[in-house]
Symmetry: C2
Subunit: 190 residues, 2 copies
């Protein structure tokens, strides 16, 4: 049993050991091998996923039938399709591991019950949502203001750990670029 989620929660609110026990009744933890699916398109499993350890990507298939990555998640990050989660509708996305990973998940009914039992977790999730929204706003700003070349260079220098763990063509996809174009950029930088 990996307890990064507990640690993460305790960064934001106090959580007694008995509350921790209650929490563990509502969440589910499992291991995935590289390239396994945590969530499939059209699945009815509407959950929030917490990466205890590992690396995930969330993507959809566009009209040209190619995978379009919209988000990565590394250790101690939450990831989910919130539209689907909130409305309880099928998701357009796939969530898949990039490395062997350990994931803790909670679906919407479980979350509701958990929040009734431990209301102060509302605060934790408010803070998480707030942070994720801040991150989304920031990414959006970068995509508005930067040329594709600058976007790539900025990403490489800002998140060097990704370059180690994630293949180039996935980074390209995430940034809205083609693998060929990224290849050209790398050549140019030498």
């Amino acid at each position: 049993m990996n307890d990064n989620l507990i640690k993460h929660i305790r960064k934001h609110i106090d959580l007694s050991d008995s509350e921790t026990m209650i929490l563990s009744k509502y969440v589910e933890q499992s291991s995935y091998k590289r390239k396994e699916f945590v969530m499939q398109e059209n699945s009815d499993c509407k959950s929030l996923f917490f990466v205890e350890k590992g690396c995930l990507r969330m993507y959809f298939i566009n009209e040209k039938a190619v995978e379009q990555i919209v988000q990565f998640a590394l250790d101690s990050w939450w990831i989910s399709d919130l539209k689907s989660f909130i409305n309880n509708t099928p998701s357009d996305y796939y969530i898949q591991t990039i490395e062997n990973s350990i994931i803790t998940s909670i679906n919407s009914e479980q979350l509701e019950q958990l929040l009734t039992e431990i209301p102060k977790l509302e605060r934790y999730f408010r803070i998480i949502m707030q942070q994720e929204l801040a991150a989304a706003q920031f990414k959006s700003k970068l995509m508005y203001e930067m040329s594709k070349e600058d976007l790539y260079n900025h990403f490489v220098t800002s998140f060097p750990e990704f370059i180690q763990r994630v293949p180039q063509y996935m980074i390209a996809s995430y940034l809205g670029l083609t693998p060929e174009y990224v290849s050209g950029l790398r050549k140019k930088k030498l």
Copy 2:
């Protein structure tokens, strides 16, 4: 005193009249004329803004010195620069009215105090943040998958009310287009 915020909160949680009184001690409401600034770049006023009535835009100035709009807000929407709000750092953005508007705002210290006095508001703000994040994810998906032409057409048919209230060049900016390009698209559709 406009009470759309109260109504909005009551859609999500119960709020007694006495709690409403407490709430009103922490928030601030004011009217703005068309084109007034609700927040200036580099200001230290780190607040969440709720549009009781009216229409706002949030934008920054890019390296070519042109305004880049990243978000609109109509009646009963929240808007803010969360990165600045969370970290208490100066904002890169301007928030300005497009029409005469009534805005209710709350800054981060006030919010913290309010949440201590009425903890169940944590739930309300969690839900709001969740919804905003869902909206941000959805917009991001559209910008990944659609051509600029499709983006514009989709926006026009999905949000006809904006076309009435917001000048074309602002819509163009929000969608990452030039006014000239949008002009060309409209001509083409006749």
